[in-house]
Each structure stands twice: as structure tokens, then as C-alpha cells.
Subunit: 399 residues, 2 copies
């Protein structure tokens, strides 16, 4: 049963994000808790999930210039950064705003409630020891958190070198990122098996992906065109979307362009770099939109989940519960169909049957909560009234 | 039974091609005729099939500059050329060496034994009236024949506008071409359904394909990079080969480059144009290689065909021929297996079963010729002795 909470004071709703936070605590979280949304979907949101800065993740083969790219944007190295021609960055690093310069180890970061990284504990300590948070005071970091990553490896056998689920971790960050930069350099174009798995893990996040063809001044123009063409040729197949990913061609570091290749460089690279900066500047605005969007998706999922759980509960008889429970588990697909029809719910928004069945096996359906119309009305209010009101009142603060 | 022919005088074998021609007439054609290779595969080769100049076919949407490209190479228009912003070229045009300038209609061209276009009759007069041969005296045409084509149309409904099998005709020319240029321009990038079918018809000829991104000076550099990237993105999916097609970026006409976009143009486009010219100059040499290669393929196919036909003939009983014929037709796949094992033939070189069955239905197997070891030895000699000798003696005249 939902615990009673004191409502937040109205003046706290001073921005869209605060509004969402309040709606969540007052109207969505109680429903999630009543119907066990957490174990079936994802843990309840914490304040840090709302407050977290927009994230930009950099991915690419080793030595394509990911760490240098971040250094270029910050105009300095972040604490703990390593730059070099061999695979250097051996961990995931979250580069965040902080009053002092320091590097916090992953195991510590993951348990801090005010950091948006609690969810990473599921990847185990083998991963957490390859994760750290690098803090420094920097104006840019007021608006954006960067995720630097270890270079993607080439060659199938290298896969065994990872002591943790690399692809899973990338996916976790990708879902929470606002922009994903895929870095290539003219001498490192091949898309290895690990890279393919990584790109596969980005499915559904395609609109966040930007491709950077870095170190473009390292080769002469004709060569660059070959390289760029080959990159697009294979990316089109790997990403497999009809929309072409935006590619930025340039050299993102502080050193001057290589003189031999400047006729193209001076003109093109500068324009490309400006475009990429504009794209980065646009992130905070888009991040608010994304948060609203994900909030709406979560509210819808929680509503459907509540109907499923309470409907299954209603199917339980007074006697012979175990048998009916087994029937329900066996015919879960049909149960979903019935629930969908009865409550006129969109089938596409239903959860994955197999995963739901697996979790269900750990519960007694007869212990589930019954349908509580008031809790469901709350969600409908959020979706139909509160969020539109909120957007109308505050607009996007970045607009 | 093979008719007796006077052998060509040895001095006629003064080049690889003449050597092939002689080997064909003396050692392959008799076998082909004995075992009806023509109806089951393709008509006997004529002298013009050997003597025909290397062909370069231009394909692309309307107005991408195909006709202008040919004009640019010849430094003049060919008789009957039309250039303009709307769909202009409404027919296939073979641009060939000739003493006088003239335009010969397709129906006439197709029946001329000294022209390599007899095979086109199978596309009917609806096509032949959309085909012509444009002749003019020109040094370049000593080495190459160009095939100008009507622009590929966009929009599914346009398909009905063709009164003939456009894709089939493209395929016919593609098989006989040494180079296939796919032209795009920055404003005509989309690969329509007809274009997809056309590209599909080029399957197996991938190594002949070169892509030309024409009119590249019409857009500024950043735009050009977008356009080029998008082209490679979709071409990679449509051509579906791991090898990246060579793309030439430039503006292939006589007008000066557009000044605003010259920094890239002057450098890059010139280098690209030079590369493409080098590729074109290389055609005669490659064409000889291709002809040898295709000759070998044909000889192998004729040999396998002879084994099939004579083996089926050997299966026929004295009585009850009709029943056995039907059994053979029904179990043709197994018959092929048996023949393959018995004579140690490569399975991959066997003809398509279904097509073979279809043709077979029009014949009495009992009327086929029996195995003639001497005819088969001839083919083995050609493959094992004569052709290696020929290549040793003459090399490629262009090497
Ligand atoms: N734009 C650039 N032009 C030329 N050299 C560059 C550029 N960016 C980075 N480099 C050089 O490339 C090498 C690799 O850079 P960096 O360490 O930033 O790559 P990385 O992608 O972070 O690699 P890893 O995955 O191993 O961490 C360094 O020697 C760096 O100086
Ligand atoms: N490299 C170029 N730069 C600028 N304009 C060009 C270029 N090549 C051709 N054009 C112009 O584009 C138009 C179409 O040219 P052209 O008729 O050669 O195209 P096409 O591909 O043969 O078209 P169709 O398929 O209709 O025969 C003409 O107006 C021509 O002047
Ligand atoms: Mg690094
Ligand atoms: Mg034309």
C-alpha cells in the first residue's frame, strides 16, 4: 500500500523538471509501488534521476581521440585523463561539475544517492572498479556531463579481455545520454565485432547518434574522401536506418591543422566544428524535452502495468490458486490480449511477455493489489492535464 | 554432326583475340553444335562478339549529365545527342567508331552481323525502336564504345511508361560492358524503385561499377560532403557488397568550375577526373582479360553441357522412351548429381536445373548425340594447352 507523503510546497514547481519530480512523487510513484512496477520494469526514480545533467557519451576505437576531444572542449585535461597513441583510457569516466578537482572511484560513486549512477551496481564490482567520476569546476560542466569510455577493441578474441558486460554498460549509458558521439579516425575505420555489438546496443537511440570523423587533417583530400565514403558505406549497413547519421568531419584537438591539407581543412573543418558545437549547445534544451518524453513513456508503462497486475489478481479464485497461477503463467500472451481489449490499451506499449513471465514466477499473484481506480485516475490526470499544464506554464526553460 | 571447316591460316592468330576466335571455330563451336549448347545456353558466338570494342555504359537518373559526360570525353556531341535539363535521351545509344557521321536505327543495327547487337532482338521491336547506333570518326572510339542510356525514372508509377523490359536491356548491356558508370548529381540522389531494380540487374558485375558524383561544383563543400555521405550510405545498402565502390567526385563537362566552390574543386575534382581517365584508359587491357575469362567460362560450360546431354542420351532404352524421358525430366536434379560424380565435374558450374528442364521438354532425348570423346578432348586441349599457349605467346597486347 502507498505510504502517505507530505506534498511538496507549490513554489517548488518552478521549472518543468521540478514539476515532473513532484508529479512523480505524488501521483506516479504510489501507483508504481502498489503494483510492483520496480521489479517488473525499473527501480523507482530518485531525485538525482531528474536533476542529472544532460549526458554526452563518446564511443570509438582506441586512439580515435575521445579523451582529446573532451580536453579540447574543456580547454584542459580532466583529473585522471590519459592521452596517448596506445589504448590509454581503460575505464568509463563521468566528467562532472565539482567544487574541487578530484577523481572518485566507481564503487563510491555508485552508492551516492545524489549521483545518477546507482543503477550501475547491477554490472558488479568488476565493472565498478573500471568506472570513476572525475570532478572539476568548469562552466561547461554546469550544463553537460561527459562520459569518456575505453576504446572499443578490434578482433573477436579481445572480447574475452573485458571482465564485465561492456555492451550492457554502453547501453545503460546510451539510454541516459542526450548525445552519443561515435569517433572514427582515417586510420581506424574498420567496425570490429565488438564495435558492431556496441552499435547494436544503441538501437532505438539512433536519433542521439552523431558520427565524428576525427583527425581529418591527417590525410590529403582525395584520401579523406575515400575514407569518408567507406565509413558511410559501412555505417549505413551497420546502423541500418534509412536516415543518414550526421557526420562531423574535422580535427578536434588544440594543435593547429596540418598545413599540407589546409585548403579543405580551413574551410570545411571550421564549419563542421561550429556545427558540432551548435549541436552540443542545443543539448540542455533537448534534454528537458527528452526527460518529459521519458516521463510520459514511464507513466504510460506504469499504467499498463497496473492494469495487468490488478487484472491477473482478479483472475485468482478463492481455492486452487496454484493451478490458476500456473495457467496464467502458461497463457500469459492471451491474458495480455484480454487485458488490452478490456481496457482499450495500445498493444505496442505492453511489456515483453517472456521477461514479465520470468519475474512473475517469483510472486504469488493472489498477493497482488486489486485495481485502485483512484491511483489510475492519478496517472490519467498526469498524462491528460498536469503535464500539458506544466509545459504550458513553464515552456522549456531553454526555449 | 559437326560440319567440316577449313582451319584459319595460322598467321591469322596474330593476337589473343584472333587466337580465341580461331579456337572457338575449330574446337568449341563443333561441340556446341553437336550438343545443342545454343538453345540451352546462349547462341553461338559470332566474329563480332570477339571483335567488339570494349564497352562503357552510363547509367543514372535523368539529367545527371550522362550525355554531357560523353560529349566531354569526345570533345563534341555525338550524332543525335540531346542535352537538357528535362529527361532528354529517350533511347539507348551505342556510340561507335564509323567513317561517316550517322545515326543507324536499332532495327537495322540488330540484324547487322558485324555489329555485336544481334542478341538485342529478343527484346522486341518496342525496344529496337528505342535503340540506335551513333557513328562518327573519332580516335577514342577506336578503343571504346559508349552506351548512353535514357535516364532512370523515379516514382513507381513511371515504370508503366516503359514499353520494353528496361531492366533486362540494362542487364544485357551490363554483361557485355567493361565498365559501368553510375552517375549521380547532388540534387538527384534518391535511388528510385526503378534504379533499385537496375542496380539489382547489375549483380555479379559489381567489379565493373564505378560511381560518379557529377556536378559536384554545384554545391558548397559542406553540402557536398553531406550529399556524398548520404550517397555512400544508401549505395552500401543497395549494392550490398563489402567492398566499397570507387566513387569519382567531379564535374564532367566543358564549362569552367563554379568559382565559389573552387578551393575544393580545383584540387580534388582535378585529381578525381585524372583518376577516372586512368580508369577509362585501362579498359582495353582489362577487356582482353575479360574476353579470355569469359571464353574460358563458356568452354567449361559447353563441356559440362556435352556431358549432360550425352549422359542423358545414354540413359534412353530401346523401348519405352517416353516414360524414361519423363522420369529424367522429373528427377533432373539427381541426374545432374550422378553426371557430376561420374565425370568429376564442379557442381557450381552446372546449369540451372529449372531452366534446363524447361528447354529439355521441347526435345526428344533419344535424338541427342552420343558422347564423342574427340570433341571433348578438344575442349580439354583448349583449356589446358591452347589458351595457356596463346597467353604465353601474345600476352595481353595492352600490357
Ligand atoms: N584531432 C587529432 N589530430 C591528431 N592527433 C590526435 C587528435 N586527437 C587525438 N590525437 C592523438 O591521438 C592519440 C590518441 O588520443 P586519445 O588518447 O585522446 O584517444 P582515445 O580515443 O581517448 O583513446 P583510448 O580509447 O585509448 O582512450 C594521442 O596521441 C593524441 O595526441
Ligand atoms: N557537370 C555538369 N555541371 C553542371 N551542369 C551539367 C553538368 N553536366 C550536365 N549538366 C547539365 O545538366 C543537364 C542534363 O544534362 P544531360 O542531358 O547530359 O543529362 P542526362 O543524364 O544525359 O539526362 P537524360 O537522362 O535526360 O538523357 C543539362 O542542362 C546539362 O547542361
Ligand atoms: Mg581515451
Ligand atoms: Mg542523356
Amino acid at each position: 500500500k502507498p505510504r502517505k507523503r507530505k506534498p511538496l510546497p507549490p513554489q517548488a514547481v518552478n521549472s518543468v523538471i521540478d514539476g515532473l519530480k513532484r508529479l512523480y512523487v505524488e501521483k506516479i510513484k504510489p501507483l508504481e509501488e502498489t503494483y510492483l512496477f520496480g521489479p517488473f520494469h525499473s527501480p523507482p526514480l530518485t531525485p538525482s534521476d531528474f536533476d542529472s545533467k544532460p549526458m554526452v557519451m563518446l564511443l570509438g576505437q582506441y586512439s580515435t581521440g575521445k579523451t582529446t576531444f573532451i580536453k579540447h572542449l574543456l580547454k584542459r585535461e580532466y583529473p585522471g585523463a590519459h592521452i596517448g597513441p596506445e589504448p590509454t583510457t581503460d575505464r568509463f569516466v563521468a566528467i562532472m561539475q565539482g567544487q574541487d578537482e578530484r577523481s572518485v572511484p566507481g564503487n563510491t560513486v555508485a552508492v551516492q544517492a545524489d549521483m545518477p549512477f546507482n543503477g550501475l551496481t547491477k554490472f558488479g564490482t568488476a565493472f565498478l572498479s573500471k568506472f570513476e567520476c572525475s570532478q572539476l569546476p568548469h562552466q561547461l560542466l554546469d550544463h553537460v556531463t561527459f562520459i569518456d569510455t575505453p576504446g572499443v577493441l578490434s578482433g573477436e578474441k579481445q572480447r574475452t579481455m573485458r571482465s564485465y558486460d561492456f555492451t550492457g554498460v554502453v547501453q545503460w549509458f546510451a539510454q541516459r545520454s542526450d548525445l552519443i558521439l561515435l569517433l572514427f579516425d582515417p586510420h581506424k575505420l574498420d567496425i570490429s565485432d565488438e564495435f558492431k555489438r556496441v552499435i547494436g546496443a544503441l538501437r532505438g537511440q539512433d536519433d542521439k547518434i552523431r558520427v565524428v570523423l576525427n583527425k581529418a587533417d591527417q590525410v590529403e583530400t582525395q584520401q579523406l574522401m575515400r575514407v569518408y565514403g567507406a565509413l558511410m558505406w559501412s555505417l549505413g549497413k551497420v546502423l541500418n536506418t534509412p536516415e543518414v547519421s550526421r557526420v562531423y568531419i574535422g580535427s578536434f584537438n588544440d594543435r593547429p591543422m596540418r598545413a599540407e591539407n589546409t585548403p579543405l581543412g580551413a574551410q570545411l573543418f571550421e564549419a563542421e566544428q561550429n556545427d558540432l558545437m551548435a549541436d552540443l549547445n542545443d543539448i540542455p534544451r533537448k534534454s528537458v524535452d527528452r526527460k518529459v518524453n521519458e516521463f510520459v513513456k514511464r507513466a504510460r508503462a506504469a499504467k499498463i502495468h497496473a492494469y495487468i497486475v490488478s487484472s491477473l489478481r482478479a483472475r485468482m479464485p478463492f481455492m486452487g490458486k496454484a493451478k490458476v497461477q500456473q495457467q496464467i503463467i502458461d497463457n500469459l500472451e492471451e491474458e495480455f490480449d484480454k487485458i488490452q481489449r478490456e481496457h482499450h490499451l495500445p498493444r505496442g506499449d505492453f511489456p515483453n511477455v517472456d521477461y514479465f513471465r520470468e519475474v512473475l514466477q517469483g510472486y504469488q499473484i493472489s498477493n497482488f493489489n486489486k485495481l485502485n481506480p483512484k491511483l489510475l485516475k492519478n496517472v490519467d490526470d498526469v498524462l491528460g492535464i498536469d503535464i500539458p499544464d506544466l509545459l504550458h506554464k513553464f515552456r522549456n526553460p531553454y526555449d
